[in-house]
Symmetry: C2
Subunit: 221 residues, 2 copies
DNA sequence: GATGATTTGTACGTATGTATA
DNA sequence: ATATACATACGTACAAATCAT
């Protein structure tokens, strides 16, 4: 039972699916998105596809040139670095505010999460750590107690997922990443938001460094 | 002559028009947007209107509930304060980076602009000062030399235009605003990005304070 | 709570603009 | 360079859901 025909809008389903495929890299940058092809793939008409593409163009995942169709946005290395820097600064901003505003419960939840992540590092569980990492940062966004800021931070961060994905697998980043989280939390514990912010920024730039050539390669590919 | 039929997309024209009307307050928060009505108003069919509305919903200006049409987003006072705080923090972040990165030319352009604004304050030219103010802040965004960050900052700031519009007209804000700009620029001149950032944040919060009850009233109305 | 009116969601047709041989 | 093929932009039609009574 419970076989009710999907209640959500077709255009929304298509948009979500495309978002995932772009963020995960299944749909590579530069791929052209023919409306009819996409429509066929989802068993829909072109109308909801067009609406989905229009929305994706606003979030910047798709580039739409009038009368010439859309392509998955191809980012230049410069642009990626700009986005990465913005993410780093925004994260720093969030953690600084979060330091002053998080509840004891939120603080303890963060510490618990961090403690639990040790096991993932030992086990070299990359996917597990990736999931933890996402939770860690999203918890910090929410701890700002500023819903709008949290949304913005998350939206910006999501757009870099495709580049962040493989990052932790390289070098000893996973262990270093966890250590840096620890430093951030220590500053948070001391109530020093500025320090927490600086450490978060450093953490983000370390991650960017680890990406290194990968970013340039992916962008040019 | 020059009667060539508009080259731009109808959906884009509609979107831009609606954006302006929402940002300027002509279309008040809570106004419901009937697709057919909007289409009639622009002499178009529902198709481009729908595409425009979908895009506006992504930028957050319109709330679209499946099968129930769209309304101009009605912001709660809390949400407006969140947005305002985010803007303030983002501006602080931008000016800090800009301090370290702006070229001598950009610095001189900013100082010139600031100097010229004195006349506007004396003349109590509110509209003129409003335009100057916009330029001043946008110049700072660009001086970060981070295109992505500048875009984000501008997008967030624009969404508050409708609330900022009347703000400068009240109290002695226009003179105070210019003085605060001066303090920011002084810190920039000294190359102290952190100080410039703190002063910018203070500047933004002073503006928010001036908004005061107005925000709550506008949001509730 | 049921029924009719209204409005949205999706499909489809056609004209126009863009790419290509 | 011109013509042909093709994809997009917009309008229209109809089904389905929401709402008003």
């Amino acid at each position: 039972m419970d076989d009710q025909p999907d209640r959500t809008l077709l255009s929304d389903r298509i948009r979500n699916a495309l978002t995932d495929e772009i963020a995960s890299g299944q749909l590579a940058a530069g791929t052209s998105l023919d409306e009819q092809q996409v429509a066929d793939r989802f068993g829909a008409s072109r109308t909801p596809v067009r609406e989905a593409l229009r929305q994706l163009s606003v979030s910047g995942l798709v580039e739409l040139r009038p009368r010439r169709g859309g392509v998955v946005t191809r980012l230049t290395p410069d642009r990626i670095m700009d986005m990465f820097e913005t993410t780093a600064e925004v994260e720093a901003m969030c953690v600084r505010l979060a330091t002053y505003r998080m509840t004891p419960l939120e603080r303890s939840r963060l510490n618990d999460l961090h403690a639990a992540s040790a096991r993932l590092v030992e086990a070299r569980d990359f996917d597990g750590y990736d999931a933890f990492n996402r939770m860690f940062h999203e918890l910090l966004y929410r701890a700002t107690h500023n819903g709008f800021m949290a949304e913005q931070a998350l939206a910006i961060r999501s757009r870099l997922d495709v580049y962040r994905r493989t990052q932790l697998r390289h070098g000893g980043r996973i262990a270093a990443s966890r250590d840096e989280h620890g430093l951030v939390l220590a500053a948070v514990a001391e109530g020093d938001g500025d320090l927490a912010g600086r450490r978060m920024r450093a953490h983000m730039f370390n991650a960017a460094g680890a990406l290194g050539r990968y970013i340039a390669d992916a962008a040019l590919g």
